[in-house]
């Protein structure tokens, strides 16, 4: 039986057209793009084309504002450590409390090295607190780094307003757009981003390749040194097949934004969410439902634990994720849900369904049929369900 894949915020299927575009660059056109012979040197054109496709997806003004990296984690690390290196006299960085660990952990590392880091809070719907940002930003702030959309709840942040506040105080602005790319339109010029991170495997490209947008003129100190590649901003022999892959994936993602795919995904997501709320008592939708990426719903099933739900869903080949402690191995429920002050009886039982345009009505119908008995079964075992107020 084919899996019902509802975990597209974790990773997506690499589309066959993408794989097809990549294939010639492994064993046939394997030359080094920096070489002084046509065999290798011609691969430069493939890289240039991919750079153009990537720049188009995020509306960069110039192709050379795109740097290819190994993943979005590298892109994020590069920006944060660049800010630390480039502005040694401005030791203050602002981010949000609900960032991905790929931003939170480098921030904590800088904090341990003497930087002042502020983590902006969110409200119970997961909405960013612009007022807190205004009150904390000062002349020492070198960088404001805030995600475009949250990976767990899909909540979209007011990126443009945040960028304006950052710039008004002389700080640069970075956004981790991993969960926005391919799901909603991105225009770096309109929002005024100085840096932006994306990862190919979140929009049907291959794993192991990402991109970093660096606005022309934005001060940037390379993270990986040791070569002239990417105009000395990211050393290392260009990974031609994967760069071709992210380019192709970006091109396809841009098409999906305008061909009705996004509306189809949103309709399926809404059907799933409404169906669950109608069929199962004591559930709670986490996140800002008015302002979410179209493919994500995060639902808490009160008084039971997320891993148990996932294990039962697995029997039906349904793939999803949980913010419960037991699935992370960290013993604590998701930092995002805790930042939103989701009560513990709901936080441990949270399930994230994240769709793609490959999902079908029939798949959603199956989940809506099989999920209620699973929840009922686990609640029958739970000592808390009967005692609930």
């Amino acid at each position: 039986m084919k899996e019902i894949y509802l975990d597209n915020n974790a990773t997506t299927r690499c589309y066959p057209q993408v794989v097809e575009a990549m294939m010639p660059y492994f064993s046939d056109k394997y030359g080094n793009a920096s070489s002084m012979h046509t065999f290798g040197g011609q691969n430069r054109h493939a890289i240039d084309a991919a750079r153009h496709q990537m720049a188009a997806l995020i509306h960069a003004a110039y192709d050379d504002e795109i740097i290819f990296t190994s993943c979005a984690t590298e892109s994020n690390d590069a920006v944060l450590f660049s800010a630390a290196e480039a502005f040694p006299d401005k030791k203050h960085i602002i981010t949000s409390a609900v960032e991905h660990p790929a931003v939170l952990e480098p921030c904590r590392l800088l904090e341990s090295r003497g930087w002042r880091i502020d983590f902006i809070r969110v409200d119970e719907q997961g909405r960013f607190d612009l007022e807190e940002l205004k009150s904390l930003i000062d002349e020492d702030t070198s960088l404001v780094s805030v995600m475009w959309a949250n990976n767990e709840t899909g909540t979209i942040f007011p990126i443009k307003e945040i960028a304006q506040i950052a710039h008004a105080h002389g700080a640069l602005f970075h956004t981790d757009a991993v969960q926005a790319a391919g799901k909603i339109p991105i225009d770096v010029q309109k929002v005024g981003a100085d840096f932006l991170s994306v990862s190919a495997h979140k929009f049907h490209g291959p794993k192991g390749i990402g991109a970093l947008y660096v606005r022309r003129g934005a001060r940037f100190v390379p993270y990986l040194v040791g070569g002239h590649q990417e105009k000395h901003r990211r050393a290392g022999t260009e990974n031609v097949p994967y760069i071709v892959g992210i380019g192709k994936a970006a091109e396809l993602a841009q098409k999906r934004l305008t061909d009705g795919s996004v509306q189809k995904i949103a309709a399926l997501r809404d059907k799933l969410e409404k169906g669950i709320v109608a069929a199962i008592p004591d559930v709670k939708i986490n996140g800002d439902v008015q302002n979410r990426v179209p493919n994500t719903t995060n639902i808490s099933f009160g008084y039971i634990e997320g891993e148990s739900i996932l294990m039962y869903l697995n029997d039906f080949h349904v793939c999803a994720s949980s913010g419960s402690a037991c699935t992370s191995g960290s013993l604590e429920p998701s930092h995002v849900l805790r930042a939103m002050k989701v009560p513990f009886e709901f936080a441990h039982g949270s399930i994230r369904f994240s769709l793609s345009d490959e999902n079908t009505e029939a798949e959603i119908d199956l989940v809506l049929k099989e999920l209620p008995p699973i929840i009922e079964r686990l609640r029958a075992i739970s000592p808390f369900y009967k005692q609930r107020s």
Binding site: R113, Y303, E305, S308, C326, L331, A380, I381, P383, F384
Partner: protein
């Protein structure tokens, strides 16, 4: 994805003895909604023979928590209270064909619930919460007592703080108690505390002792201050009373490097270790 054994999956999918015994002779409770797992165990005991005639459970938790609870009820049925009280968390894990290391705390929860249920029976059947107020709580995030950690370390031959976290959850959230846990491990495992208490004068120390002593001062007194200016210092060499230090980060090439070496690093080492110390820039 955890590597659960078939036994774990069987007891998770087909849990035995789910529910609550009416008018139970003993009720043990452990865990809470905050912790992410909780178990309520009720037992029926033959007053004459003290044999556990029935046991039922209700569990909030992951697959391994449910499986551990189910297995526990199967294991205690037919045993006397005395026999049952000797069941350890390892016995529960073994009966399940083992649990992933990160999930051992689920089996510990079973052992604790049983402990509480037996005490509840001895106290006339009033439900007993496993955690005792008079105990010294080490991990405040998960409410884990010193006694519980010592017991887990002894029973399972735990060696590292990480092991203790896997078995008891202690230290798994904010991590502030990790130092305390290490002390308990040292105590139980008989390790000598790794302190430099040697009162030998600096000049009589061995080269290794000198290196350790200088490193300690660098780490505790010197680097934190240099770090504030984006710099740091590394120990390069030692000979007699001469200590060679390299300034790194923002300190390297700083116009005040010599002053930093003499007025700050040398002075601090002299104060903390020995007046004869001379610091040179490497």
């Amino acid at each position: 994805m955890w590597d659960y054994t078939d036994k774990v999956m069987d007891h998770f999918k087909n849990p035995r003895n789910v529910g609550t015994i009416e008018n139970a002779d003993g009720t043990g409770q452990v865990g809470s909604l905050i912790c992410g797992d909780a178990l309520r165990l009720t037992i029926k005991v033959n007053k004459e023979t003290e044999v556990i005639e029935d046991a039922k459970f209700e569990t909030f938790g992951c697959a391994s928590a449910i499986a551990s609870s189910s297995m526990l009820t199967e294991m205690v049925k037919g045993k006397t209270l005395e026999e049952a009280s000797r069941i350890t968390n390892q016995d529960i894990a073994d009966a399940l064909g083992n649990l992933p290391a990160e999930k051992m705390h689920c089996s510990v929860m079973g052992m604790e619930a049983l402990d509480a249920a037996i005490r509840s029976y001895r106290q006339g059947g009033k439900p007993v919460e496993f955690e005792q107020q008079e105990e010294k709580i080490i991990c405040h995030c998960f409410n884990v007592s010193e006694e519980a950690i010592i017991k887990a370390v002894r029973l399972n031959h735990l060696k590292t703080v990480e092991d203790v976290t896997h078995f008891t959850k202690a230290g798994g959230a904010c991590g502030r108690c990790k130092g305390e846990i290490q002390k308990i491990l040292d105590k139980v495992n008989g390790a000598a505390p790794a302190e430099i208490t040697s009162q030998k004068p600096y000049s009589e120390k061995t080269i290794v002792e000198k290196i350790k002593a200088v490193e300690k001062v660098l780490e505790e007194e010197i680097r934190p201050k240099l770090n504030r200016d984006g710099g740091s210092a590394e120990l390069v060499d030692l000979a007699g009373s001469t200590v060679k230090i390299r300034l790194v980060g923002m300190c390297s090439g700083c116009v005040n490097a010599q002053a930093t070496i003499k007025n700050f690093i040398e002075k601090t080492l002299q104060e903390k270790l020995d007046k004869s110390i001379i610091v040179e820039q490497a």
